[in-house]
Amino acid sequence: MLTIQNYVRPETLDEAWECNQNRKNRILGGMLWMRLGRGSINTAIDLCRLGLDTIEESEEEFSIGAQVTLRQLETHTGLNRYTHGAVRAAVCDIIGVQFRNMATVGGSIWGRFGFSDVLTVFLALDTAVELHRGGIVPLAQFVTMPPDRDILVRLIVRKTPGAVVYLAMRNQRTDFPTLTCAVSDLGGAPRTVIGARPGRAMIVPGLPALPVGQWSQDAISAYAEAAAAAVPTGSNVRAGAAYRSHLCSVLTARALTQLGGINGWN
């Protein structure tokens, strides 16, 4: 049982940041599974008054406030037009609508959870995070940073022309994924992201170049095999390492195939 002594709604980010410097205080995000933890929180910090609950779309980018819910991601027309539904695909099997009405982007990204669909899809996009003190940091860099007492303010997704495909495998439709996979082509080489390994999502390094134009089935297979070889997988209650590596190859190949099929897009 989690106990909380105080609850505050800071009016400014500075105020929230100050409050969050005390190790016994915590930012609530969507709360949800936070309550499964034991122990005691001195002050729960609700960022609800900071106007971080909207998705702003401009010519160049999407600015996604930390308090934006997964359901907002799912239903946002512009974001899903840009990603050809990949963002919707990444969140739509997470528990249920009520859960997604509460879970926040900030909470999902800040936690850097291994199972995170959200982290996987945003890593495949040109995404940066804005930290209140740390400034704007590429998401790929952020996930490797050790957790500190900063505050995640928003996500910035640049509208780099390209395409992205999201696939995940689940034992049961609304369960945690056994593997997540997002592959994007944002000009240059495709970027492949694998998550729920069960470790945290990672951009797969050192993949072979794919020929310009149509990708042959052989080239896709070779690429997918290389991805499976490059991604460390592990075992947990949902699946074993060998199966995850197998899935890594299968989902990568499928995502690439779908990606090749998206024509004249963005």
Binding site: N171, D175, A239, Y243
Partner: protein, 766 residues
């Protein structure tokens, strides 16, 4: 009997409580019991097998708001069983309210009672327990004759002789046979010899276990519990607490699902003990974690099937050995196992020359198992139906045609089913109907859909019982009110199944009145006539018959009173549903007149109580067919279509029978594909919440298609048999069959996960 002539039975009506439930009215235990009762919480063992060497509660007792903390030193030393079964129970008396010896990770160590949840939580953290951790029996295959004993105590007591021996970790053991199975097997052209494994699946009813207790206005122990078994609970509490049954009253309000979980008195003893000791109201609500880890799930079973057949597919012999894991305590252990053979083997009475069925039920240091819809039949049918499918595929025969040849039919005597005669059996019609409805001819062949996906189909048959023959007792009291309506009082427990409604439909049919004119009450040990409770698929068949009898008696009583009012003899009057008239001169008195008459100078109660029991347990039958789409690369299985045709005798309320069937099928799909129960190497359960134990959502199922083939059971009320349990039995073998069709691999262990499918080398086994 022609069901079409009936007015109320055989028609769909909404449940009598439907609008209350759908509009969220306060009708469950937590809603109707006082909030200021003591909060009861249970401190649980982290160890699978240990002796408590020291337990210190003094610090915890000082937490403000803590009323009492009890340990093994405080409780009576009489062993008891929590299985909801008729006395003398086949389950051993192997429990204490709190025992110094804890036998599974989750076993009760201390009872904490406090004014608030927070105080109880704090106190639990402050109780200091020292354990002597013992080796644990964590694999049921090595439990029998293991040097580690789960129940070494000397006061272990079996009320019935069922072949148990705690010095061998055995709860029960038996062999039953008909014919010379070894001789027939050796004469068979083909013998399929396979072993199947099913897990300790969770009922996962939405309402957790919950019990409220207080002392009533007479100082008696008053228990409000979400239970299927009010009378058994009274008896269990009486023994466990050492107080007379006359000092206990047990009632159940609406129940948020049971599926057998609440056929054991899982947690009634704890708040009852608190109330007895403190004199104060107490309430215990299990967390979902407690439901998952200290509940009463299915018995894990491993079943070896040896099936002998001729090369033309005639099934000649079945030899089953079932090893059942009852966990740390023996509830329902000796009985569930019996169904694994007795409700699978008889399906092939049509061609079977000999059978043998033997079993061992063992203790382990796992969570104690209990009763779950299907009650052993589900496990046995997975094994036998899979073996039959393996036979058909080996011989290249259509498995439905093979079954046509071998299945039990009406009029046959079933040696493996206690020699009972099938007086109503539409299994053959179910198969034909299901074949047509499902379009088996076109869906059975495997179809490649491209992109690594294939579609395939599988089939299975099932049976169950309609009661425990010669044991279950159902009773009903039917009473005339002064406005000419009726009260129906029962001791059976509607846990959402709709039995209150279907029993009222029977009253309406018998008394020729509207369903709205029947008010139902149940269940309360102080007010209801005795009923074993709602389990073993017995309520429609047994309590239904009691209702029919009581109505017959009441009609006679009413006619007697009316005859006196009309100044004629009873055989000169006719009952027409709203009045009783003299056949000779047409003079009549209304039911209202009659009822008022009984209230003014009446000497005869316008009420009747009847009990019923049955020497037989007529099986319902069913055929289920599954179509799946299987992704050969990822191993993902989608159930596209599940079609079932059921023979439950007369469906008393077809809408409710259909929902029962659909709900059972979906539970079965969950068990087959992803619901799992595992332990870590120290014996701690892994799937301890809904985060880990995944039950199907509405995104996990495809089309469900359910129809009925009615038969007419002469011993059942209006020809009815049962529906509640049989419906869970076909998905596992049918889906496993479809998976074989799609992959050429037989999966003999549940659940069949995508990983198991994708990672099985198809060449390894053929």
């Amino acid at each position: 009997m022609d069901v079409k002539q009936l007015k109320t039975v055989g028609r769909s009506f909404p449940k009598k409580d439907a609008m209350q439930l759908l509009l969220g009215k306060p009708v469950y235990t937590e809603d109707i019991t006082p909030e200021d009762a003591l909060v009861v919480r249970i401190l649980r063992s982290p160890h699978a097998n240990a002796i408590i060497t020291k337990i210190q509660t003094e610090t915890a007792k000082k937490v403000p708001g803590v009323e009492a903390i009890f340990t093994w030193e405080d409780v009576p030393s009489t062993r008891f069983a929590i299985a909801g079964q008729t006395f003398p129970e086949p389950s051993p008396y192997d429990r204490l309210i709190l025992d110094r010896h804890v036998r599974f990770a989750g076993d009760a160590v201390a009872i904490v009672a406090a004014e608030t949840e927070k105080a109880a939580e704090r106190a639990m953290r402050l109780i200091r327990v020292e354990y002597e951790v013992l080796d644990a029996v964590l694999d049921f295959r090595s439990a029998k004759d293991n040097s580690v004993l789960v129940h070494p105590e000397e006061d272990w007591f079996p009320p019935c002789e069922v072949g148990g021996d705690p010095k061998r970790n055995l709860v029960a053991s038996e062999t039953d046979a008909d014919g010379d199975v070894d001789a027939v097997l050796s004469a068979c052209d083909i013998v399929i010899d396979r072993t199947y494994h099913t897990k300790a699946f969770q009922q996962a009813m939405m309402e957790p276990f919950i019990v409220y207790t207080d002392l009533d206005r007479y100082g008696r122990l008053h228990v409000v519990s979400s239970t299927q078994i009010v009378f058994h609970t009274r008896r269990i509490l009486s023994r466990a607490l050492g107080i007379p049954k006359s000092r206990i009253r047990v009632e159940k309000p609406r129940i948020g699902g049971g599926f057998g979980a609440k056929q054991s008195a899982v947690c009634e003893v704890y708040p009852a003990f608190v109330t007895i000791k403190t004199g104060r109201p107490a309430r215990l609500i299990y967390t979902r974690t407690e439901v998952q880890t200290a509940g009463s799930p299915r018995h894990e079973m491993e079943i070896r099937v040896r099936l002998g057949a001729s090369s033309d597919g005639t099934i000649r012999a079945l030899d089953l050995y079932t090893l059942s894991n009852t966990g740390a305590y023996g509830e329902h252990g000796p009985t569930t196992v019996g169904l694994s053979g007795h409700k699978s083997i008889p399906l092939y009475t049509g061609s079977l020359e000999a059978y043998r069925f033997s079993y061992d039920v063992v203790y382990t240091n796992h969570q104690s198992a209990g009763a779950y819809r299907g009650y052993g039949a589900t496990q046995g049918i997975f094994a036998v139906e899979s073996a039959v499918n393996e036979l058909a595929e080996r011989l290249g025969l259509d498995p439905t045609v093979l079954r046509d040849r071998c299945m039990v039919r009406e009029g046959m005597v079933m040696p493996a089913y206690y020699g009972e005669l099938t007086s109503a059996c539409a299994l053959d019609r179910c198969m034909e109907h299901c074949r047509q409805l499902f379009d088996w001819e076109h869906r059975y062949p495997v179809r490649d859909m491209g992109n690594g996906k294939v579609r395939a189909a599988g089939v299975a048959m099932a049976m169950q019982g309609s009661c425990i023959s010669n044991v279950d007792v159902g009773s009903a009291t039917v009473r005339l009110s002064e406005d000419g309506t009726y009260n129906l009082l029962i001791g059976a427990a509607d846990m959402g199944t709709g039995c209150d409604t279907i029993l009222a439909q029977m009253v309406a049919e018998c008394m020729d009145c509207s369903l709205d004119d029947v008010a139902v009450f149940g269940a309360d040990t102080d007010a209801s006539p005795y009923d074993s409770g709602s389990y073993a698929s017995s309520t429609t068949y047994i309590t239904g018959k009691a209702v029919e009898k009581a109505c017959g008696d009441l009609k006679k009583t009413i006619c007697g009173i009316a005859a006196e009012m009309l100044g004629c003899t009873q055989d000169e009057v006719v009952f027409d549903g709203s009045s009783v008239r003299s056949a000779a001169d047409g003079r009549s008195v209304t039911l209202t007149d009659i009822a008022y008459r009984t209230q003014a100078g009446g000497t005869v109660a316008p009420a009747a109580t009847a009990s019923h029991s049955s020497p037989i347990s007529p099986p319902p039958f069913m055929v289920g067919m599954a179509e799946i789409e299987l992704d050969r690369m990822t191993g993902e299985v989608k159930v596209l279509d599940y079609t079932a045709v059921v023979d439950c005798g007369t469906p008393v309320n077809p809408a409710l029978a259909r929902i029962q069937t659909e709900g059972g099928i979906v539970q079965g799909i969950g068990h087959t594909l992803y619901e799992n129960v595992t332990y870590n190497d120290r014996g701690r359960p892994i799937e301890s919440s809904f985060m880990q134990y995944k039950i199907p959502t509405r995104l996990d199922i495809g089309a469900l298609n359910v129809e009925f083939e009615a038969s007419c059971e002469p011993t059942g009320p209006f020809g009815a048999k049962s529906i509640g349990e049989i419906v869970i039995n076909t998905p596992a073998p049918a889906i496993a069959h479809a998976i074989y069709r799609a992959t050429s691999v037989w999966h003999r262990e549940l659940p069949i996960t995508p990983e198991a499918i994708a990672m099985t080398n198809t060449d390894a086994q053929k």
